[in-house]
């Protein structure tokens, strides 16, 4: 049972300054679909995705105090390099690094990533989510669970789990 913070002193990395993407002129075909690339997927995942480490998932008390409202990007849980996109093949692979090696929240983070992509990408997309090799004690087990479609579907029928995911994905009002 976890009552305290799992990771009380996360290392915060400086947020990368990203150039504004220039809007293409629409003088030609207004129905041209821009191919999706890894930067766009990265934006989908992290622009408004603040992860609050003080949630107790296993504990008996619900602490919703956002003590570490830093984004996954700032915590280096994910970087732009860890998002692979092939728009032509409708394929995305996201590799993430849980902040702590034994982090029990790896599956929750993975599930949040999957849900966010499910809600944002066209349905033709195939998505693979995995923890960065060497970053987690039970890496193979976590990856297997995250990529078992049936298990994910069943988990997302659990209202408590869905509430938790929705809360993690909700935009923060700073």
């Amino acid at each position: 049972m976890v009552t305290g913070l799992i990771n009380a002193n996360p290392i915060i990395y400086e947020k990368k300054q990203r150039q504004q993407r220039s809007t293409q002129s629409l003088q030609g075909d207004e129905y041209t679909v821009e191919p999706i690339d890894h930067l766009e997927v990265f934006d989908i995942l992290f622009a408004n995705f603040h992860f609050c480490f003080a949630f107790t998932f296993i504990g008996y008390r619900d602490i919703k105090d956002p003590e570490h409202p830093y984004s996954l990007e700032e915590l280096k849980v994910i970087t732009e390099e860890a998002v692979e996109v092939n728009d032509q093949n409708s394929y995305v692979r996201v590799t993430f690094t849980p902040t702590v090696e034994h982090c029990s929240m790896a599956t929750i983070i993975g599930l949040c990533l999957r849900v966010k992509l499910l809600r944002s990408l066209p349905s033709r997309y195939k998505v693979d989510i995995r923890v960065a090799p060497g970053s987690h004690a039970t890496e193979a087990a976590v990856n297997k669970q995250l990529n078992d479609k049936e298990r994910v579907a069943a988990a997302l029928e659990n209202p408590n789990l869905v509430d938790m995911v929705d809360e993690c994905l909700a935009p923060s009002y700073e």
Partner: protein, 345 residues
């Protein structure tokens, strides 16, 4: 001489409002003027019954079985006589439906699994039902008079989520496959409901290296094909068909692995009466395989790709099954549709 074959789309069936997980052709239909019927089940918590019109050959939805399961319906199976339909759900129950003059009534609900039920299967005689679940167990139920079902065995052995159960087509031997990468074979050792695991087909036996999603038997029941998250299909064989004659169970052994044909998880495989097996995968494609009748079969039977239907659906294919009669092929997908296909030259 090779004739070129193609899988022609006969019809696309819409109706379900969420992914279609599975379907089952009613085995008592498709002959003697009886129109083909199949049931489908979905994440929308309903089961739909579809019937073919004998003049147009097109299917339409005859009934929607709803307000019974409270979660995804994952699998469905008609009894051998086609009189009963069993439906397995994430709500941890298995419902039994009876066709009463065109209306389907839920006549029994089987409870006991601790969480999501994944698969249900009737034995050849229609006297036994098997279910399996994420709770790692396989349950065997005996069909009693008056649509009563009695649990006669709870089989533990798998160490993870059990994805599918299937009875052998002629013998009362049960097969299960799991997230633990194994296939298990269960038989009644004594005469009094003493069901035991008589064989495990795992990695040491040339088995799969990831979740095994489905299994299917050939018409004579001496071969079985399995499909997996490890991107392979494996064919297994056994010595004799009458497995319980002459003192006991004949073990299954690996015959062939089909590798390099699939790039994403294979969710379903089904062997037709004509000896072709079809696979449905997460790359939206259907593939058909046949016996490779080439000269050199020194190391045992080999199989070759007959054809690949790319973009058969817009999303993952969860289930494929050949129909009775003709046969036609039906496929169920995450895109919420079911397609009926004809194999033509």
């Amino acid at each position: 001489m090779e004739t070129s074959l193609e899988l022609k789309e006969v019809q696309k069936l819409e109706g379900h409002t969420d992914r279609v997980w599975s379907l089952d052709w009613n085995p008592a239909t498709g002959h003697d003027g009886i129109p083909l019927v199949f049931a489908s089940c979905s994440g929308d918590k309903t089961v739909r019954i579809w019937e073919q019109n004998l003049s147009t050959n097109l299917f339409s939805c005859k009934a929607t079985l709803e307000e019974t399961h409270t979660r995804t319906v994952r699998s469905c199976a008609w009894s051998p006589t086609g009189k009963l339909l069993a439906t397995a759900s994430f709500d941890a129950t298995t419902a039994i439906w009876e066709n009463v003059g065109g209306d389907f009534e839920c006549v029994s609900t089987l409870e006991g699994h601790e969480n999501e039920v994944k698969s249900v299967s009737w034995n050849a005689a229609g006297t036994l039902l098997a279910t399996c679940s994420r709770d790692k167990s396989v349950w065997i139920w005996e069909v009693q008079p008056g649509n009563e079902f009695e649990c006669v065995s709870v089989l533990q052995g798998h160490t993870q989520d059990v994805k599918m159960v299937r009875w052998h087509p002629t013998e009362d031997i049960l097969f299960s496959c799991s997230y633990d990468n194994n296939i298990k074979v269960w038989a009644d050792e004594g005469d009094s409901d003493d069901w035991q695991c008589v064989q495990t087909l795992g990695e040491p036996n040339n088995g799969h290296t990831s979740t095994v999603w489905a299994l299917s038997f050939n018409p004579s029941g001496d071969k079985m094909v399995t499909c997996s998250d490890d991107l392979t299909l494996k064919v297994w064989g056994t010595e004799s068909i009458g497995m319980q004659s002459g003192g006991g169970f004949a073990p299954w052994r690996h015959l062939c692995t089909l590798t390099g044909y699939h790039e994403r998880t294979i969710f379903s495989v089904h062997w037709s009466r004509g000896g072709i097996f079809a696979s449905g995968a997460a790359d939206d494609a259907i593939r058909l395989f046949v016996d490779d009748n080439s000269e050199s079969q020194v190391d045992g039977p080999l199989y070759k790709l007959l054809l690949k239907k790319d973009k058969a659906h817009d999303m993952d294919i969860n289930y494929v099954q050949w129909s009775p009669g003709k046969p036609l092929l039906a496929s169920a997908s995450d895109d919420g549709t079911i397609k009926v296909w004809d194999l033509v030259s």
